[in-house]
Symmetry: C2
Subunit: 349 residues, 2 copies
Amino acid sequence: MGIMRATFMYGAGDVRVETVPDPTLQNPTDAIVRVTRSCICGSDLHPYASMEHSSTGAPMGHEFLGIVEELGSDVSTLRKGDLVIAPFAFQDNTCVFCREGVHTSCVHGGFYGNGGVGGGQAEAVRVPQADGSLVVVPGVEESSDLLPSLLTMSDVYLTGHHAAFTGRVAPGKVVTVIGDGAVGLSAVLAAKQMGAEQIILMGRHQSRTDLGREFGATDVVAERGEEGIAKVMDLTGGEGSHVVLEAVGHMPAYEQAYGIVRPGGTISRVGVPQYEAAPVGFGSLFGKNVTLTGGPAPVRAYIEDAIPLVLDSTIEPGKVFDRTIGLDDVPAGYTAMQDREALKVLVTP
Amino acid sequence: MGIMRATFMYGAGDVRVETVPDPTLQNPTDAIVRVTRSCICGSDLHPYASMEHSSTGAPMGHEFLGIVEELGSDVSTLRKGDLVIAPFAFQDNTCVFCREGVHTSCVHGGFYGNGGVGGGQAEAVRVPQADGSLVVVPGVEESSDLLPSLLTMSDVYLTGHHAAFTGRVAPGKVVTVIGDGAVGLSAVLAAKQMGAEQIILMGRHQSRTDLGREFGATDVVAERGEEGIAKVMDLTGGEGSHVVLEAVGHMPAYEQAYGIVRPGGTISRVGVPQYEAAPVGFGSLFGKNVTLTGGPAPVRAYIEDAIPLVLDSTIEPGKVFDRTIGLDDVPAGYTAMQDREALKVLVTP
């Protein structure tokens, strides 16, 4: 058994790349994947800002693609050498909730970095439920220029897509995206794909909102709070937005969302909420018949339809990566994302 | 100008029937309707329990049907003598939000008992925006046995329908209704109409849950809180309910709702929330991709499709009325409903 490098977080601001034993098959449904590309997620920044010290460290990373190296005896749909994308949650893809399209609630599923499963910011990962969890991309070389966009199929683009899908974005709709991080920009691109008529992007980092415009945003609002709400109301003729895609997760973004959503409209959240309670009564959601939806994206439900759009260059969601680093530089990558120097960091182990 | 009797609330537990001037036309879009049937709403019990003393009193009642007596000069679709149902909110039925099916947010709309508009627990009512607000029922006599069921088109049945509609009840779905009041029972009937496979009614008043079974409930759960949640989970094979229709409006009902909704499911609220903040984060809604929807029912959006179901006896939602009183007895009617002696009280002015 060999050794590899993998990323662990020991507390807020404390990310380390360490040497650990290679992952090994533990169940007949497992596969071992050698990671070709992984990345740092906006949601990794939440513990990076607030995690309490841990003496053991938490394995980090949940977005990766790579090459199948080993297969458990029960795995039937994969072959060694396959280039595979790993959706950010693993799942059997057969249980009742998977069949209903909520793969992130799979009864045999889970999340990387928890319960004895390693993280994706590493040289290799043991993938449970490999048949249900790994999606083969045939005919793509390990050196392909498409890898960054294919990597976004693991999480970020399809999380943006999930927001737009559960928000029922459709032709003719006015859509506002709150947040100019990589998920927000992905939500812009997804809303554009679904035919939204007007896409307002709320964000204040011009290099990011410029990419948002390239992805399909028709308007950019840099203001926040009441001022931002007034601006969006103005841009929508005082009526508000049919759909609000909330890609931040903090309370001010939620408050903006119900401030700009129109009667009968929908707020779809994909930013992991950093709050538990929030206004939902007559004065916020109920009175104007607002629907609140969203959650962790069931990437597995969408990925097979989305990959062809990358392969034929209909979409290029990999443009959200503006920095590429090696695995040893992952700690600096966290800092760069936290300081907003990098939008999203690609890792080549 | 004559005088009439009308109901006013002066504070918690203080309802009075008083003599006031007859309503008169104030705008060319108004109509005056002589009330044939009205009723007391579960939502009237909220101020009846908690309203602070008012020296002027609040006009009460928002559900009524009656005969058109006078018409403003701009009203074009009604004739004197028409039997009309008044949806519980008035609206122009032409504005952008009406066209989008959210009539309770009409830009020219409002609610009875507010802003100089009287209430329906009275002998007559001035109806603003009469063309958009009143729905003619042709060929029905003022003495018809259908009047109670037609009166439910004003609010209670179509509020139950709204819950089921926004909750996207459909064939094959497991639906749980929280609350055995008249709205809850209406939600059961509406869910049955939409083809729900299993309809679990959470309620503890047997005469009511018996009517719920008649309306289509397949199971009744009398327990509340954690015990009630466990019972519903048991009845759904541990998976939970696809759709939860919350017809109460208090926090324990909300907590039950997110306890029993399955991953990817929907909570649709039509009980007016008696809270503003509620859990919506990872541990309640977000983590399992639960959708929260509902609000004040845009009755006008549904009523034209629903009236024929009453006229041909497909549904008999008027069974929720278990007591009929005259207008002078309205104060006693409030007491009977608050004490749960009556499910819903019909008023014949």
